[in-house]
Amino acid sequence: MQALDPQHFTERSPLYRKHAGACFGQLGDSAIVASYGGDETAQAERCGLVDLTNLARVGFRGAEAAAWLERCGFSLPSAPNRVVTQADGSHVARLSQTEYLLLGSLTDAGKRVARAEADWTFGTSAVYLLPRQDSHAWLLQTGAHVAEVMAKLCGVDLRAEAFARGAVAQTSAARINVLVLNTGSCALPGFHILCDRASASYLWDALLDAMAEFGGKPVGMDALA
């Protein structure tokens, strides 16, 4: 990745001005933070926050949504409020009996999920596309303190014993609606947090404020490699 200016791309994260001074790399038709400098791998393991808003994601809802996604080759969670990580690193979360959220993988720059969105056509069946890439911002909170940080913002118990890997919480944090997905591993605990895109700036600052006592800082994509 090389240093780039997000304003030279057509797609922009609502948070790109928060990343002043960072080194950007290209992700499709957008720029995404590669690194802010320093040892970001260690920072991510301790307490990090990543802006994944420019990575592909999409939702599908409807009586035939599950069948359609299975035809696209996705493995689906068996129950609502669960998330399944796919072999390519993308994630499929089930938000209700008939609604699913697909999160793209950094491994393929989100191309598989973007393809699922592009392949969908309106009116062919009872499957409705939900524009989650534009309706929601996508943050990834990483490190050993994820549950402690969220305890300062959210009333739901997100500790590992109550909110294990594969769990999804549709709740509120810092007084706005959020989706929290636990897809972390033992090596790198992590919560994907999706919030109203127009509130991204607000939640980014609220999260960093809550992370401060744990030495939390933003980290770039390179830390996740």
């Binding site: 304003q7 791309f9 057509t10 797609e11 922009r12 994260s13 609502p14 001005r17 957008s30 420019n54 809802r61 409807g62 309106f122 009116g123 009872a126 409705y128 939900l130 524009p131 890439q133 534009d134 309706s135 300062k152 913002l153 810092a174 007084r175 706005i176 109203d196 895109r197 127009a198 509130s199 700036s201 607000y202 609220a206 404020d209 809550a210």
Partner: protein, 444 residues
């Protein structure tokens, strides 16, 4: 006491009257030459004992929302204003030069071309085989036979027949409507839609796409020639894309929903694109319109422009009791429909004598300008209140909307309005709109 409480909101703050209840009662007693025991105090409700500070300690959160164009507004020197939890540009320029900035922006839109961020406008995708039937039941107008590629005004009443929201329904396919709602009303309308859909069990999907779409209104007589520079796959000619037409196309390769609208009373296009492209769209339009003198305009300017056209803003020019007849919106009711939410109440209300009406009024330049909330008098009584009022440079006079008694609503009538300092001005009731009564400019 109860009236004072409701007009002043005293006692409704964080202390819930702990500090203000008794002093207020004393003030009311003094003003009405009675004792506190005669005036009484407001009703006390739990908690009856003081809250411990420890109960309310902890982080305080004050959420806000920003459109994808927020930074561009700040870079352009906008005076920002709150609109619910949103922040919107009121006008562009120093705060102390509001009047000058607003008038300049308004005249510019009337003579050339302007650009306003309307991303906060509510957006709801209603999709599915029963989409038209769903809207038919929810809004007062008829949508079953609405042609694809056209938009139609949409007025919503509640079960009491009170006007609660408005917008447009744009039909992009037989089973796809894009419905706009007011900035402040969209969350409520979305909840209403989900509630009624759960009850009616129609085959329809409702998605709130407000934040998912960045939207601008490119308005003014030169707007078509600006849009032509960046939109090449939609025929923008007046015949092919007439007033109230809607189209799906691309703007510089960005997928866009294009809508011919007339809120400010000029040739205009609303352009709605996925939020990720919002800033790029704004930059591209500003660049494309540079030679035509494009300039941004803010919400207060937009409110002046729509006032010149006599367009009401729901929740500003309406209140919790407003019926369609009071705001001359009975044309937006489809009488042949067997049902819409509020139909029974609207019909009952229409059989009763109209007690008040929203009227347009004018005052000469230089007169004391009424403010929103100032009272309209009927002899010793109050017959209404001012809901909107501005000086219009285009028209050279003060214009406004106000509720007045039904017998005061005839054009040519004089309505007394009590303004600052107790002065009473005599405003002239006029027929709406104030500007371009033939609607020729928006239909170019």
């Amino acid at each position: 006491m109860q009236l004072v409480k409701r007009f002043s909101t005293v006692g409704m703050g964080p202390s819930q009257g702990r500090h203000s209840a008794l002093p207020t009662a004393r003030l009311v007693a003094a003003a009405t030459n009675r004792s506190v025991s005669e005036t009484g105090v407001t009703t006390a409700r739990p908690p009856f004992v003081a809250e411990k500070l420890a109960h309310v300690a902890g982080r305080g959160f004050d959420p806000y929302r920003q459109t994808p164009l927020h930074q561009r507004h700040q870079e352009l020197g906008a005076k920002m204003m709150p609109a619910g939890v949103w922040q919107r540009p009121a006008f562009y320029g120093p705060a102390q030069q509001r009047e000058r900035c607003m008038q300049e922006e308004a005249v510019h839109v009337r003579s050339k071309v302007g650009l306003i961020d309307v991303s906060t406008l509510g957006g709801l995708d209603v999709r599915g085989p029963d989409a038209a039937e769903f809207l038919n039941r929810l809004y007062t107008f008829a949508f079953a036979k609405q042609p694809v590629g056209r938009s139609r005004y949409a007025l919503m009443t509640d079960e009491q027949g009170v006007v609660i929201d408005d917008g447009v329904c744009a039909r992009f396919a037989d089973d796809h409507f894009y419905v706009t709602a007011t900035t402040s009303g969209v969350d409520r309308i979305y909840q209403q839609m989900l509630k009624w859909n759960a009850q009616w069990r129609l085959n329809v999907d409702v998605t709130n796409v407000t934040a998912a779409l960045a939207a601008v209104n490119l308005a003014g007589p030169l707007s078509r020639q600006v849009l032509r520079k960046v939109c090449h796959d939609v025929d923008l000619s007046a015949d092919a894309f007439p007033y109230l037409g809607v189209r799906l196309g691309t703007v510089l390769g960005i997928p866009a929903r294009l809508m011919r609208v007339g809120f400010v009373g000029e040739l205009g296009y609303e352009i709605h694109v996925p939020a990720r492209y919002g800033e790029y769209l704004w930059d591209s339009l500003m660049q494309a319109g540079e030679k035509d003198g494009i300039r941004p305009f803010g919400v207060e300017t937009q409110r002046l422009l729509r006032l010149e056209k006599g367009h009401v803003i729901i929740s500003q020019d309406t209140d919790g009791m407003t019926t369609p007849a009071e705001i001359d919106m009975t044309w937006a009711i489809a009488r042949s429909k067997p049902f819409f939410v509020g139909k029974r109440s609207v019909e009952i209300l229409e059989k009763q004598p109209l007690r008040r009406k929203l009227v347009g009024f004018t005052l000469p330049k230089g007169a004391s300008q009424p403010l929103e909330g100032h009272l309209v008098l009927n002899g010793p009584d109050i017959s209404g209140n001012v809901t909107s009022c501005e000086y219009s440079q285009t028209l050279g006079q003060i214009i406004g909307l106000a509720y007045a008694g039904a017998h005061q609503a005839e054009p040519g009538s004089l309505i007394p309005i009590r303004v600052e300092g107790g002065e009473v001005v005599q405003a002239t009731v006029v027929k709406l709109p104030f500007f371009d009564p033939q609607n020729q400019r928006q239909e170019l």
